[in-house]
Amino acid sequence: MDFILPLWPAFPELFLLFAVCVILVADLYVADENRIVTYGLTQAALFGCIVVTWVWATPSKVYTFSNMFVDDLMSDVLKLIVCVAVMVVLAYSRAYVAARGMFRGEFFALALFATLGMMIMISANHLLVLYLGLELMMLSLYSMVALQRDSALATEAAMKYFVLGALASGMLLYGMSMVYGATETLEITALADIIAEGSAITPVLIFGLVFVVAGLGFELGVVPFHMWVPDVYHGAPSSVTLFVSSAPKIAGFALIVRLLGQALGDDVLVAEWQQMLLIMAVLSIIIGNVTAIVQTNLKRMLAYSTISHMGFVLLGVLVGTDVGLGSAMFYIVVYVLMNVGAFGMILLLSRAGFEAENLDDFKGLNQRSPWYAFLMLLLMFSMTGIPPTVGFYAKLAVLQALLSGGFIAVAVIAILFSVIGAFYYLRVVRLMYFEAPVDNTPITPYTDVKVLMSLNGLAIIYFGIVPGPLMSLCLYSIQASL
């Protein structure tokens, strides 16, 4: 038994696994009209997971399961954010999925399994554990996208997601096998040590690195591996889109830190992957922003906007310093906050038989509900990066890291395309504020959604006025974990 001890660093995952099993079984005994019980249990499980993570959080690094699993500050912070994000996502989704016949045990169980996968990825200290966590998450996500069985669009999206996702996993695995061939280990900390000695840096390792980066590109959805993003975002039911676009990005970031920051973070290798990330990041920002302009479907528009945001995250990563990774972590946390809010608004405006997914559905929102329009305005300006919203500080942190690394030209390109990006975010503001409503159905969300949505919007402005603590937390947790 010694090889799995101590057990406590993995308590959050073990707790969640246990909870999912209980929910799976309990759900069998719940009648359809009482499905709210499953929902309540799911939220309780996530909340419990937050408590467990919080209680056993540690500022130092603790390895367990024979060094395959690590609990460090970054993993604690990211797990907390993932759990909170999933809780909010599920709360936003409740009315939407109920109106579309998806308010079933499977939805919640899959969401929890995906969350478990993310948490395992976040805490992995071994390439195979990383891969297993990733697969657990991805398989759950594929099924969630396909959950609306009678929708051709959703099925197509799920198919595309699965095929491309499988290809990406294959690449990642292939890359890992090359890395193993060059270093004869899969343990992340050991990998770093062996590479630091220098003798392992061979063409095989670089070859493996290329595949690893390509796999990462798929997971994050950056150009040129972005093809699945708009289709999946558009085709999946909006609540699943919300799920896919939020918490998994955090896990994707953890993947980057573990693979590029820790395992392959040697200076010689940084110089190699920096070039690759640079091209991917710049292309993502350009293509994401330019393509988003011509979209009429809000979900597709946000998909392209996500691509450009992920480009910004990569810009932070490619600097290759802890400040760079810290800024990327801050950016991705802010991105999740904004994205959850924006998709939450789509869910809020949707109702039985009506999807508020076209830009025109936001027309005249200010007259229908000034408060939600104001929240959406904050979200849009935050995505543009205008102070005093938090989106500005995210861009600021990344640009600062970039300039300190000497990438002035790249920063200028990123800035120019942000201005282009401003156009389509402003268009949403225009529709909400400057035009008359076409649809005057009253907006009546549940009270919990009302409160959460308000908090979500106000967080944008709160962290815009007091960004310091969150920024320090991100930077500090990266520094403590590298």
Partner: protein, 496 residues
Amino acid sequence: MQGLPLLSLAIWVPIVAGLAVLTTGSDRHAPVARVVALAGAVLGFLVTIPLYTGFQLSARGFQFIELKPWIETFRVNYHLGIDGISLLLILLNSFTTVLVVLAGWQIIQERVAQYLASFLFLSGFMNGVFSALDGLLFYVFFEATLIPMFVVIGIWGGPNRMYAAFKFFLYTLLGSLLALIALIYLYNVSGASFSLFDWYQVPLPLHAQILVFLALFAAFAVKVPMWPVHTWLPDAHVEAPTGGSVVLAAIMLKLGGYGFLRLSLPITPDASQHLAWFVIALSLIAVVYIGLVALVQSDMKKLIAYSSISHMGFVTLGIFIFNPLGMEGAVIQMVSHGFVSGALFLCVGVLYDRLHSREISDYGGVVNRMPVFAALFMLFAMANSGLPGTSGFVGEFMVVLGSVKASFWYAFAAATTLVFGAAYTLWMYKRVIFGAVGNPHVAQLKDINLREFLVLGLLALAVLWMGIYPKPFADVLHTSVDDLISHAMQTKIPAP
């Protein structure tokens, strides 16, 4: 009185008042919203008065300093302080806000709370720009002004408002994002500090200075706006509601001029002198060419917008001839232009509210129906053409005198504005106000009511005061301008 954080009050009183106005909600409570907004604006103006009375005329450096850590990761501080230049602009801003709230009293009937709140937010943000001594704080306030103005133009503007709002936003955003890169660069080279004082001291080689200067120039030149990046301004002015035009002309344009004084000159003194010819050339083109363009406008608001660009050319000219007279003149001109252009836009607003037209040809003979209005309008038109005894004269005269010292030809070109300015303003005045009553609509015009009289009367007093006795305005500037010039004359290029 001394213990109060006056600058913070000047910033946050309007913003909090704006939030209070927003909570009044729908238009059913519009009267409440108006009263709250007026109270907030007046209070916001009152808290700035102790800044003037407590200002030490002979003290060097900044006063009313407030310093608190804000974002510790980046060592950003909530660092406020003012010199004479900021002081005048803060007073102008808070004063104008009161007028704008009054000016929209009856005209704005839709979404009243949002309208008034936008202006209160703007006022607070702009006071923030004028008092920030931290680069990032400056930038945050500078950018934040875009949001309320975008909304104001977009919601309450004219038929082509969306185009104008987008153009305004994207133009200024592009400029200021380039400046952001310069600010981050300065942060990196000054040993991780956003403090303006550190930036004033950090040595920079000439090529770096030039790049920083150009990046900052992109932001401020668009805001001023200088030829050839001025094209957003006529559109924004024409489409914006009266209040929007007033704030835009009276204060927002000053953000650009102020930016040159607070950032460009002291941080990149060598580049500023190196490229002064370039800025002066653009300024003179604005003065002469845009003055000619103004002459042929048929839309009153457009005419005043072009006149604004031409007058702001004086400001940039005065700043970049590097002598105390010119720079003081530039600041005086900024304040005077705030009064005069604000007043002119209000006058056009008065006419527009009655006839819903801004075309000069739709008017004629207005004096027969609105004598009081015509008299006030006359005063502002004269001030705009630079008549001695009005505020318009003081600043322009100082800048012209200052530029004679630099070069006769600068002064010669700049002085043409006294001709063109008079020509386009008075010609417009003649066509609108004098002559026979042009059409039946004009025949039914009613003269201005008490509220309009109050707003225009206050501005008239300000214009005359500044024209006849400018000493109180000039006095607060002497030390600050001398300081700035002496700093801008020292090289920052590190010795090899």
